[in-house]
Amino acid sequence: MYSEKVMEHFRNPRNMGEIPDADGVGTVGNPVCGDVMTVYIKVKENRIADIKFKTFGCGAAIATSSMITELAKGKTIDEALKITRGDVAESLGGLPPIKMHCSNLAADALHEAIKDYQAKKGVK
């Protein structure tokens, strides 16, 4: 069902946790649907210096959250905004078709966190 890479990230999620003094926080999903992701970012000199996540959901939801933190860490804000749901799925060696929409929300959570950061900074 899942690729080895998905299972590996599910087993050992990277950057799991919270950042108490985060510069931006983004939450997407809904417990009713079975997936909720929160992404925390810390920004230094326009780069994502630190990123952490917390996720309620299936194996794919946890693996995509873990993967987005790896993809985004160290990237500039503009680069991070360009990361798509497709990039996340591809980096994980693909996802089952039924999981592509429901559990592949990590890129959205990252973008929400960046929007939150920009709003706090007064950036348009």
Partner: protein, 391 residues
């Protein structure tokens, strides 16, 4: 790593004794039971012995009341469509419940499109069918009541005899899907007023791809598969003799061992349920605490999701199921969990253990040892977990 298969409700292994009984019917006694020659007649005799074993298994009066099918889905389709179409001149109303298997619910939906009126009787928070609501749903147009003997997901055993009495008082045909109950609790079609009863071989250690429908003598149904007239014209097609022999042997063994096995499994089940509720905060039992199949423990954990639990347990060698949306083909949580009143977010956190003939106390204790850590890890990852639970 230990191995503990606890998904017997989804599929059992074939009991080695059953497999042995089947073997000659692949390469030695391979004749077609409809053939006149001795090889065909020998296959026919084996099939009739199997029919007798299945009849005894459910308390049928004669073996002719048993029709072999390809499994539970076909048995349910044949029973419901068969009765509905055959009795259309008497009425067009059919009744079932909100917690049936999809092969019942989707057959009802199909018949609704065909012009039948359908009623889905609700259940209480334990999954017990409201017999009075069922009685009140009956009209002079009602021709069929279909209720499962026990629910395989939440384990609740229904008041079948009481419902059968209600149906028969009003002269209405009563169908029972006994797939989850067969081999777990004794079934008595006569005493329980059952006219049709569906069985699946693989739920009691027989092979997959074979099932049966009990049809009480005098019950009028119409076939849904037409052809050469096998199985009294109700299920045409050359019989799968090895599988039928396997189902008969499985029924014989289950009947013989049920009493002691159900005591043994109930003890293991309660050890698992009590152990989990004891060790893990915010864990709950789904289904009825006592009116429950001996092999079923359906547990629910707050703040985490079922598929993550299944994957985590699988990594430790334990095979389980869940009613979470993430494990379904429709992305909806189990209709059974919603029917007993759980919110979507609660239903997502369910985990189903179905124990079986090879489940041991050691395996239960192994699950009790590893599950608290797995739940703690997933709760630490979840943003919904209250802080005080993580300390």
């Amino acid at each position: 790593m230990k191995k503990a298969y606890m998904d017997y409700g989804a599929g059992t292994l074939v009991d080695p004794r059953v497999l042995e009984a089947m073997k000659p019917y692949f390469t030695e006694v391979f004749g077609n039971p409809s053939s006149v020659h001795s090889l065909g007649q020998e296959a026919k005799r084996a099939m009739e012995e199997s029919r007798k074993n299945v009849a005894d298994f459910v308390g049928a009066e004669t073996k002719e009341e048993i029709i072999f099918t390809s499994g539970a889905t076909e048995s349910n389709n044949l029973a419901i469509k068969g009765v509905a179409y055959r009795n259309r001149n008497r009425g067009n109303h059919i009744i079932t419940t909100t917690i049936e298997h999809m092969s019942v619910i989707n057959t009802f939906k199909y018949l609704q499109k065909e012009g039948f009126k359908t009623t889905y009787v609700t259940v209480d928070k334990y999954g017990i069918v409201d017999a009075e609501a069922l009685r009140n749903a009956i009209t002079d147009q009602t021709i069929l009541v279909s209720v499962m003997y026990a629910n395989g997901e939440i384990g609740t055993v229904e008041p079948i005899k009481e419902i059968g009495e209600i149906a028969h008082e009003k002269n209405i045909c009563f169908h029972v899907d006994a797939v989850a109950a067969a081999g777990q609790v004794p079934i008595d079609v006569i005493n329980e007023h059952i006219d049709l009863l569906s069985l699946s071989s693989n739920d009691f250690y027989g092979p997959k791809g074979v099932g049966a429908l009990y049809i009480k003598t005098g019950t009028k149904i119409q076939p849904i598969i037409h052809g050469g007239g096998q199985e009294r014209g109700l299920r045409s097609g050359t019989e799968n003799v090895p599988a039928v022999v396997g189902m008969g042997e499985a029924a014989k063994i289950s009947k013989r061992e049920m009493e002691s096995e159900s005591v043994r499994l109930s003890e293991l089940r309660d050890r698992l349920i009590d152990g989990v509720l004891d060790r893990i905060p915010h864990s709950f039992l789904n289904g009825h605490p006592t009116k429950r199949l001996p092999n079923n423990a359906n547990l629910r954990f707050g703040y985490i999701e079922g598929e993550s639990l299944i994957l985590s347990l699988d990594m430790e060698g334990v095979a389980t199921s869940s009613g979470s949306a993430c494990t379904s083909k429709t992305l909806e949580p189990s209709h059974v969990l919603l029917a007993i009143g759980l919110a979507h977010e609660e239903a997502h956190g369910s985990l189903v253990f179905t124990l079986g003939r090879w489940t041991t106390k050691d395996q239960i204790d192994y699950v009790l040892k590893i599950l608290p850590g797995i739940v703690r890890r997933l709760r630490a990852i979840s943003p919904l977990t209250p802080k005080e639970l993580l300390r």
